[in-house]
């Protein structure tokens, strides 16, 4: 799922400083799982903003709303009346949700309250790690199900580099060297031969290098 961090409160306060009435739209999708979206996080953020503004003697009114998902028009369409009653929308959705708002409400300013980070999963309670970079040409088949593009600081296809030490990455001693993990997993699966092949340079056109990417499912198109 998509993982995001809330922006620092100072930055959020600064971005809403000109408004007296805003909507805090808290996506109820992916980012709820990492505690940055959803109703609870929104309640906390709204009260923090209100308290800070009260202290300044400059009260702000905040309407809170949690759509099931902010990245689909059906879920944000219904709010038209409420949205039109505010000066700006503060969104705790990923970048997709914020942009969906920009399209659906072209006259309304939508401010991101999150920094969208990656596609990942929780490795332990309340700790998420990146797992997929969405590169558009999956290599997990020969890497033992571990992604060197999302998880190697040099995106190596023929790792590990000379900085792999005691299973850790030279860039961060708290991060596993994914190439050590790939090696160990392939060894366990009796597929170390996968690593004797010199892997060809990647065609980055499938990634973000050819401009915006699209996907269509012909059968379902109207």
């Amino acid at each position: 799922m998509i993982v995001a961090d809330r922006k620092p409160l100072e930055e959020i306060l600064n971005s809403v400083k000109d408004y007296k009435k805003i909507m805090l739209m808290a996506c109820g999708g992916c980012v709820t799982v990492c505690f940055s979206g959803g109703t609870k996080a929104a309640e906390l953020l709204a009260s923090q903003i209100k308290m800070a503004r009260k202290k300044e003697g400059n009260d702000i009114e905040i309407i809170e709303f949690t759509p099931e998902r902010q990245c689909e028009y059906e879920f944000i369409d219904a709010l038209k009346k409420d949205v039109e009653s505010v000066e700006a929308v503060l969104s705790t959705a990923c970048g997709v949700g914020v942009q969906a708002m920009a399209v659906e409400y072209p006259d309304m300013i939508t401010i991101p309250a999150l920094n969208t980070k990656f596609m990942g999963y929780p490795v332990e309670h309340a700790l998420w790690e990146e797992r997929c970079a969405g590169c558009g040409d999956c290599v997990l088949e020969w890497t033992g199900g571990l992604c060197p593009i999302a998880r190697c600081a040099k995106r190596l296809f023929n790792g590990p580099c000379g900085g792999s030490s005691d299973g850790k990455c030279e860039v961060d001693k708290d991060t596993d060297c994914v190439w050590q993990l790939i090696h160990d997993r392939l060894k366990r699966l009796n597929k170390l031969d996968n690593l004797t092949v010199v892997r060809e340079p990647k065609d980055w056109r499938t990634s973000t290098n050819a401009g915006q990417r699209k996907t269509k499912f012909e059968e379902a198109m109207l």
């Binding site: 040099k154 792999s164 090696h183 010199v198 340079p201």
Partner: protein
């Protein structure tokens, strides 16, 4: 011969080769290279010119190599994958050959986090293995990576790569060396050897696989002036193996500079006697002036005429 490289001639003639590192300055002064070239002229078979090592901005390795050539020193230009995509790399490979560079050393490159622009985007369009294969394709197949032909004047470079016997997983390091050979490496420079026993164990595996017959291996050696330098490398540089007794020896030395030289001379003797080692690569970080002194005392001068 694959190139017009002196280093290639020295190695193919069966001589024990000597290369040494030359770090370009953090400014635009060619005099720095000219001065350092004097330490190398006639003393080494190749001056290895680093490419923004540790991700600190310095004069371009190719430009510095061209200055070294003007001083009569044969350079080995390093090229890292961190800062350029395949278009810029191939362009620079052509440019390097046009400037008279005959040796290239292909590396991934230190991550930008360690340098003076940690906020920079990295490239890594190709990795070091793919860079080796790309240079070989340009030289031997007379083709760009895309398959487009290089109709004439293909870059004739002697291709170097690096190997770190001290990084993990140890058992994979020989397999990775074999991969670099398969990709097209003609010679290998190793990470600094301080742990001679571990290096010897690695070389044993290399020889067992017959890899020393397919590639020339130069053992990397770094003379140090203080125990502090060893401490730093042990604690701060990933993929280094520094025995404690070496640190103790430097700590208790009356003249650490001389002790550092002695240790380096002993290391040279040790690696010379390890089966499969074709030469040494000296990396006296920021201490290039010591290169001719060490080589003289090691009996490695004069260099063979080829």
């Amino acid at each position: 011969m694959k190139s017009a490289s002196r280093l290639e001639k020295v190695l193919t003639a069966g001589n024990f080769a000597v290369t040494a590192e030359l770090g370009p300055p953090q400014n635009a002064d060619p005099e720095v290279i000219k001065k350092k070239s004097q330490y190398f002229l006639g003393n080494v078979d190749g001056a290895n010119i680093t490419d923004n090592q540790t991700a600190i901005v310095r004069m371009s390795s190719i430009a510095a190599a061209a200055v070294a050539i003007s001083c009569g020193v044969e350079p080995v230009a390093q090229m890292v994958c961190r800062d350029r995509n395949r278009i810029a790399m191939q362009s620079d490979i052509l440019g390097a050959a046009a400037l008279g560079i005959r040796n290239i050393l292909c590396l991934s490159g230190d991550h930008q986090q360690f340098g003076n622009h940690p906020e920079a985007a990295n490239v890594f369009d190709v990795d070091s293995m793919q860079l080796i294969a790309m240079v070989k394709k340009m030289r031997d197949d007379k083709q760009f990576l895309s398959g487009d032909p290089i109709k004439e004047h293909e870059p004739r470079l002697f291709i170097g790569a690096v190997a770190n016997p001290f990084a993990d997983p140890f058992e994979f390091r020989v397999i990775r060396l074999a991969k670099k050979i398969k990709a097209g490496a003609d010679f290998i420079q190793t990470q600094c050897v301080f742990d001679v026993d571990k290096f010897a164990r690695w070389m044993e595996l290399v020889v067992k696989e017959g890899l020393h017959k397919k590639v020339y291996i130069l053992a990397g050696l770094t003379p140090v002036r203080s125990a502090k330098a060893l401490h730093y490398m042990k604690n701060e540089v990933a993929g280094m193996s520094i025995p404690d007794e070496l640190i103790k020896r430097m700590e208790s030395a009356e003249d650490p500079r001389e002790e550092g030289i002695k240790i380096c001379l002993e290391m040279i003797e040790s690696v010379k006697n390890i089966d499969g080692v074709s030469g040494i690569h000296l990396m006296p970080i920021g201490w290039e002036s010591i290169t001719p002194i060490i080589l003289e005392r090691a009996g490695l001068l004069p260099r063979p005429q080829v």
